[in-house]
Amino acid sequence: MDPAEPAPPASPDCISCGRPLKPEAAFCSACGHRRGDPPVDRAALVQAKVRKLQRIESGWVGIRSLIAIYFCLLGGAALTSVLGKATDDFTAEAAGSGIIAFIVVIAALRHRRELAECSRTAGFGWKGYAGIVVASLAIVFVVHTYVHGLDRLFKLRMESELNPFSGRHPAWAFLLYAAAPALFEELGFRGVMFGLLRRSLDAREAILLSAIAFGILHLSVPMLITHVPLGLYLGWLRHRSGSLYPSMVAHFLHNGLVVAGGTWNLWPGS
């Protein structure tokens, strides 16, 4: 543009709301729009605000659903524990897995929208999955050392939580202690619960809360020390990958290695 050419006269009306602007005004006194700025899409702004308020409302509904699902799972865990006293380990564990699976499937169907995105993608490439395999070995070693340390410290002679079922094929132990939790606990905690928390919380808070819920639902105070960090790790995998599958694989490997250690006495001190 030629510098000698005079600047075009300022618009006499506000380009955002159409009201007349005062000659000396830098802003429209009716809508607050700055003179010279491009027009604002007010309808889009209102829609964004409405969406934000709707998210706040749906967030609270999500939190209430999460509390309900948690206490249903807690009831299932209690029932498993009662069955464990009344019957043998295998029956109790099979029934318990069935109860947890039933609750999780109902919750997943009810909140399938939370699972739509994370169930469609593999999340990581082969390198990511290889990293999960290596990390699982290190995690199981730390957990094993902690449990045995606790056993020796309090002289409790605790039986390992994931001992193989006596007189049954080891495949049952892998199915009930490794495959079922990896599938249903991940679907419940990293799928439904994480999704419900993410409606109103940021990722860090959602990972922390789902990890603590995961830790305390194992109904053991000493296990909080291992399961909360494990839940943090699995939650981080879910967030980082945007998929459920890496955390399912990590959970399966962790439990599977513990079961393998118990079945074939692989770990030092077993």
Binding site: K22, E24, A25, A26, F27, C28, S29, A30, C31, G32, H33, R34, K49, K52, L53, I56, G59, W60, I63, I67, Y70, F71, L74, A78, S81, V82, F154, K155, L156, R157, S200, L201, E205, L208, L209, I212, A213, I216, L217, L219, V221, P222, L224
Partner: protein
């Protein structure tokens, strides 16, 4: 500036029109310049000029915020109550548990009085899979472990009480889930314990539930303000 009363261009020395004397201008809250009454934004700096309805709404919101803060503080106090009760429970369970174990060991010692230590160990090994010394270590270990678990829980509740200062919602939600779980676990270990102090337990569950609700309301209020 045009006076909204006499519709003429006038100076506003103290918020009054120099021609008609009507109090027809207000100060902009941001740049402190004069703005004609009825205008929604300052034409000099673009700040929103609060209307009477805005001021009433703001006062209402401020009251709401105070009420929410009050409820959040009440929730925090309940977390502290749970922490203190759990810590006392831990110390009490240690002393009562130890005296109970000592009593049982004395009774067992009397029952085995005619046996040599080797015979006693052999019989215990057969019945319980442990020697006499292992039985003593196990029973005392269980009591110490229970005390450590309860003290650990008490410390967790103190941590939640502290955390609720900055994140009331998350802390209250964890406190509610944890307390409900602990109640269930203690009922599984000893079903009779469920009815002990049931009123206090129900009151705590209700208080923690309303703490979750207050925490979420506080968070929503902050987000609504931002929106």
């Amino acid at each position: 500036m045009i006076c909204p009363e006499c519709k003429t261009e006038q100076d506003f020395a103290d918020g009054r029109c120099a021609a008609c004397g009507a109090a027809s201008a207000v100060r902009c809250p941001k740049c402190r310049g004069w703005v004609a009454k009825g205008e929604k934004f300052c034409s000099a700096c673009g700040a929103k000029i609060p209307s009477r309805a805005d001021r009433i709404r703001a006062a209402h919101r401020s009251k709401e915020r105070q009420e929410t803060q009050h409820n959040v503080n009440r929730g925090r106090r309940w977390m502290l109550v749970v922490a203190v009760l759990t810590l006392f429970g831990g110390v009490f369970s240690y002393f009562s548990g130890m005296s109970e174990v000592d009593k049982q060991l004395r009774e067992a010692d009397t029952a085995f009085s005619g046996m040599t230590p080797a015979e006693r160990d052999a019989r215990l090994k057969e019945e319980l899979g442990m020697t006499w010394q292992e039985v003593i270590d196990h029973d005392r270990g269980m009591v110490t472990f229970q005390m450590a678990a309860l003290v650990g829980l008490g410390v967790i509740f103190i941590g939640l009480w502290w955390w609720a200062q900055t994140n009331a919602f998350a802390a209250a939600l964890i406190a509610l889930l944890l307390y409900g779980t602990v109640m269930l676990v203690s009922a599984l270990i000893d079903p009779a314990s469920l009815l002990k102090g049931i009123v206090v337990k129900v009151v705590i569950m209700v208080a923690l539930s309303s703490a979750v609700s207050a925490g979420y309301r506080q968070r929503s209020q902050v987000r609504r303000r931002a929106a």
